[in-house]
Amino acid sequence: MTTRKITSLADLADVQADARKAIDLRSGTKDLRITVHMGTCGIAAGARDVLTALMAELGRAGTTNVSLQQTGCAGLCDQEPMLTLTDPGGRSFRYGRLTKHKVGEIVRDHVLRGQPVNEYLIKA
């Protein structure tokens, strides 16, 4: 881990802001919750790469209102790898057959702009 020398109140505020941003990504009290399904089926289909891509995209976007979690199989194994995005209103959006590229689009359009990417949603 890197350390930073704090010589002023401004430095301290910067450190606090960075830490808050990092913690926000995982605390469960934020506006959006993204859950990656990591059952055996999901892992075999590429869920770890989806999770890695999500961490990178969310970190790059600098968003502070998203919590990132993982869970097991949702029973839709043929749709793996998949994630569930739950918005502040409690509505769930389930995305399936994901790739790193699709994850980038979902973060850009749904997480940052509030526009679901209908093309990648699992149809009921």
Partner: protein, 176 residues
């Protein structure tokens, strides 16, 4: 599974589902003995079945499913390299589970270890409430990390885990 680190991820998911608060992961690259060893222990709610049933691919405790492939796939990956998988009790909790896997390090059928550092970082990042005790031994290089000792910032903890594990594995003289 194309990588051993994905099997490890699968077992870690099992431990999380067993509501473990402490999970220990040890990976040892023993070049002298030509062995790759993985041990995963937890203090969760324990196995509901006998160990031999736990590795039966047609047995699962999950509602709505008819197969339980995680342990059986890892066992098959180990056995095809002259190794094996054993399930026992862990000292981490009263009914904790310990899964030990041994593989032939240079065996032609051994799957690559894959991105173990990234895998562990992802798990640590998304489960900040769990205390992960991670040990990676590779020749003279050894890394030991306990996530509860790295502070409350889970994202930075994950970065530290990735860096330390990556550095330890970088000492390997054989392809992993």
């Amino acid at each position: 599974m194309r990588e051993l680190s994905l099997h490890i991820l699968d077992l870690l998911e099992n431990a999380q589902r067993a509501r473990a608060s402490v999970i220990a992961v040890t990976v040892e690259i023993d070049e002298a003995a030509d062995r790759l060893r993985v041990v995963i222990e937890d203090n969760g709610t324990g196995l509901k079945v006998a160990p031999e049933d736990a590795t039966n691919p047609f047995y699962t405790t999950k509602a709505g499913k008819r197969t339980g492939l995680g342990l059986s796939l890892f066992r098959a990956a180990a056995e095809q390299t002259g190794g094996g998988l054993t399930i026992g009790k862990s000292g981490l909790g009263p009914v904790g589970v310990r899964v030990a896997v041994e593989l032939g390090l240079s065996h032609v059928d051994r799957s690559p270890l894959g991105d173990l550092a990234g895998t562990l970082a992802g798990v640590v990042c998304t489960n900040p409430e769990i205390d992960y005790v991670i040990a990676v031994r590779c020749g003279m290089q050894e890394c030991r990390v306990r996530t509860s000792e790295l502070g409350a910032d889970a994202f930075r903890t994950a970065q530290a885990v990735q860096e330390l594990v990556g550095r330890a594995l970088g000492a390997a003289a054989v392809p992993l």
